[in-house]
């Protein structure tokens, strides 16, 4: 350890490295660093030796080889001749999709359940308590399996839509709920202007964003007018017009039409197919995380002192307005930090997708690819890195949001 260094002259004793608080922390850190480096090199040298003994190497070349397997849900074009790398990207996008959808639905469910659990309605609050405790105390994996089975068993097979006297029929001839998933109409574009789907959607989103920006400007102008004159000008027709006209015009020029799902061969063809695996995973993750969020929301609301709601009632606000304008905005500050960790949990839990055969990053990169190529070290490393980076990004983004709603002390 430290005793190996040469003792300096001018009265510096070795003991000082241990007993002198000026040096002690340095000593400890140096020792810790040496130990850490030793351990790392031990692990790495072991790995190298083991790989050599097995005749393997660390090589990411497999990512550029054809994968050979098909993936049912793909957000980018992919077939069995595409590379393992592309399969991984397909899986990653699927993970992101279910995580995003899950976070949104979990928040909605959680807020509703958390508020209703405090409701004066006895039966509703009891029901919410059952929901929260039931989901919190049973493993998520079990819920995923159960919800998947429930969806499969309780919805009709596409067969039921067939024949002269079908036992099931489509909703408005546009939506079919089957045990293979839900088929909904899809938006397609006929115009030659919209050859590239991604660009088309990008343009639509851009126009929508511009409309929303314009609406916020109008709102601001309305508020300014109200403050100046005391009368708030009616703006709803502007808002509605801005929201509908530009996007509508764009859709018409693009030649948009609805592609309805229709029974064809074994399955429904056309439209968009939301697979049962996605729905089951999405529902299970949302319900499970929603139960935790409900507790957080309830805790946040209870943390607001009673005087706040009493004051709001004294002002003559209705209970719903009180909740929306007085309680929730304040509770939000208590709610957001634990909410972030729930979002992180949900994202990580989406890796259980394999239980329902949802092809997420774990199933493609960390599953079939590893299995077909035997590259478990590389595959797991990439998978771990992906989740780590994702978690760090989510927590960074949510921390920024948290900072913006934090109580600003002046």
């Amino acid at each position: 350890m430290a005793t190996l260094t040469d003792p300096p002259e001018h009265g510096f004793r070795l003991g000082q490295l241990i007993y002198d608080t000026r040096y002690r922390s340095l000593t400890i850190q140096v020792v810790a660093m040496i130990l850490l480096a030793l351990m790392m090199s031990w692990l790495v040298s072991n790995t190298i030796q083991n790989l050599a003994a097995l005749g393997k190497d660390i090589n990411f070349g497999f990512l550029w080889q054809p994968s050979g397997y098909d993936i049912n849900q793909r957000l980018i074009s992919y077939d069995s001749q595409a590379t393992h790398g592309r399969a991984a990207v397909v899986g990653i996008l699927n993970t992101l999709l279910v995580a995003l959808l899950g976070c949104i639905l979990a928040t909605i469910l959680g807020v509703i359940a958390g508020v209703l659990r405090l409701s004066s309605n006895w039966i509703v609050s009891r029901l919410m308590a059952v929901y929260v405790e039931g989901f919190r105390n049973v493993p998520l994996l079990l819920w995923i399996i159960l919800i998947f089975a429930l969806l499969t068993e309780s919805t009709p097979a596409p067969n039921a839509f067939r024949g002269d006297e079908p036992t099931s029929s489509m909703f408005l001839d546009a939506v079919a709920v089957t045990n293979r998933g839900v088929y909904i109409p899809a938006l397609h574009f006929a115009s030659p202007l919209s050859q590239n789907g991604a660009v088309t959607w990008g343009v639509i989103l851009l126009v929508l964003a511009l409309s929303i920006f314009a609406i916020t400007r109008i709102k601001r102008w309305a508020t300014a007018t109200q403050e100046a004159t005391g009368v708030r000008p009616a703006t709803w027709h502007y808002t509605l017009g801005l929201l509908i006209v530009p996007v509508g015009a764009l859709l018409v020029t693009m030649g948009a039409y609805l592609d309805l799902p229709a029974l064809q061969g074994f399955n429904f063809a056309g439209g968009t197919h939301l697979r049962n695996s996605l729905i089951a995973l999405w529902l299970a993750l949302s319900l499970y995380t929603g139960a935790f969020i409900a507790e957080i929301v309830r805790g946040g609301i209870l943390a607001i002192s009673k005087g706040q709601s009493e004051a709001a009632f004294a002002l003559g606000l209705r209970p719903s307005t009180t909740m929306n304008l007085v309680i929730l905005p304040q509770a939000l500050r208590v709610i957001i930090p634990p909410l972030i960790s729930q979002y992180l949990n949900l994202t990580k839990n989406s890796s259980l997708a394999i239980a329902v055969g949802y092809m997420d990053a774990r199933s493609t990169l960390g599953g079939i690819t590893i299995n077909q190529t035997g590259r478990e070290l590389e595959g797991m490393l990439l998978l771990g890195l992906f989740y780590l980076v994702l978690s760090l990004i989510i927590s960074a983004a949510m921390n920024i949001f948290n900072a913006s709603v934090k109580l600003k002390e002046r």
Binding site: Q81, A157, P158, N159, R180, F266, N267, I368, Q372
Partner: protein, 340 residues
């Protein structure tokens, strides 16, 4: 609480730091007194624990035969359930001595993944099962169908190839376990279930109405399923290979668990049987086992035919016929090299 195990294991590791590859598995197994055998987590007829926790099945019987040959005790087996994903690593890392988990013998597994397939205990092929009501009679008519597959197997690669070659479209529904796939298929969440034909038959056998489902005539792949061991340990590979061959040969020569006691006490007329059962020659010693090795292996569960009939044969709920797995003398592919 488990600190003891940690430290104990680390201490042991420090003392016996022998390389996993190239080590003499046979000596390890003998020293340990049990055989670590990797099996499926649960596949009807091939490997599943019964109510007493005793593993039963066709693959399990092979593990027991090897344990009997090496250790003289068919029960001296630790069964390690492995999933499609963990099986190869478990073998490569030395956690198991052999893998008997309906694993398809392919070039890349044999060569690239550094394993050694020692033989084939079941010749299989990938097939399709479909409800009769759909009126499909050939796999070529499956354009646009939803297909349930088990992930982590060669099945999904074969499936992709088949539909690609025939220029058909399909929707794969990947499922982790056979039991789950069965539930999905029965509920109509997929039109077709595809896996090895033996698995299809085994699954169909347990349906409430097996007659409502047909297995299509097309077999789209060759699936030689067999036991495998680590690359680079030929002695151990020989032990497993010849145990399997002994079971096959025993059927060919008419050695059964019923008459083996009689045949093995004294040398009979057939020198091949004598060498097999150790009443003549020193085949056992050449393998590094005792002379009664093959006798023990056959006594464990009977010869190949007996094992087959007991676990997956026509009189079991699985109800598989011998087909390709008949002896070569009866038009099948089972052909044990000579014992001499």
């Amino acid at each position: 609480m488990k600190r003891t195990v940690t430290l104990g294991a680390l201490a042991v590791a420090g003392l016996t730091a022998a390389g996993a590859a190239g080590a003499a598995t046979l000596d390890d197994v003998k020293a340990r007194g049990t055989l670590n055998c990797g099996v499926a987590t649960g596949l009807p007829g091939f490997a599943a624990p019964d109510a007493n926790g005793v593993w039963q099945g066709f693959d399990v019987a092979l593990c027991r035969a090897v344990a009997a040959a090496v250790l003289g005790d068919p029960m001296a087996v630790e069964f390690v359930p492995t999933t499609g994903q963990t099986r190869f690593t478990a073998l490569a890392s030395g956690e198991i001595d052999m893998l008997a988990r309906n694993t398809t013998w392919t070039f890349s597994r044999d060569v690239d993944l550094k394993f050694e397939f020692v033989g084939v205990n079941y010749y299989d092929g990938q097939g399709f099962m479909i409800p009769k009501a759909l009126g499909v009679s050939s796999a070529k008519e499956l354009d646009g169908a939803t297909v349930c597959i088990q992930t982590g197997t060669t099945t999904e690669l074969n499936l992709a190839d088949f539909f690609r070659v025939n220029n058909l479209s399909y929707e794969p529904v990947p499922i982790e376990t056979n039991a789950e796939a069965q539930q999905q298929y029965l509920a109509g969440a997929c039109d077709v279930y595809t896996t090895d034909a033996s698995g299809l038959a085994a699954t169909r056998a347990t349906f409430e109405a097996p007659g409502d489902h047909v297995i299509l005539p097309e077999i789209i792949s060759k699936e030689p399923l067999g036991p495998l061991v680590r690359h680079g340990d030929s002695e151990w590979g020989d032990v497993v290979r010849w145990t399997l061959n002994a079971l096959v040969a025993a059927e060919e020569y008419g050695v059964t668990s019923a008459n083996i006691g009689e045949l093995s006490t004294t040398a009979g007329d057939n020198p091949e049987i004598n060498r097999l059962l150790g009443t003549e020659g020193e085949l056992g010693a050449m393998l590094g086992l005792d002379a009664a090795w093959a006798k023990n292996a056959i006594m464990a569960g009977g010869n190949y035919a007996e094992v087959f009939e007991k676990n997956i044969g026509e009189n079991t709920p699985i109800g598989l016929s011998r087909g390709l797995n008949a002896q070569w003398t009866e038009g099948g592919l089972l052909y044990a090299p000579p014992f001499r």
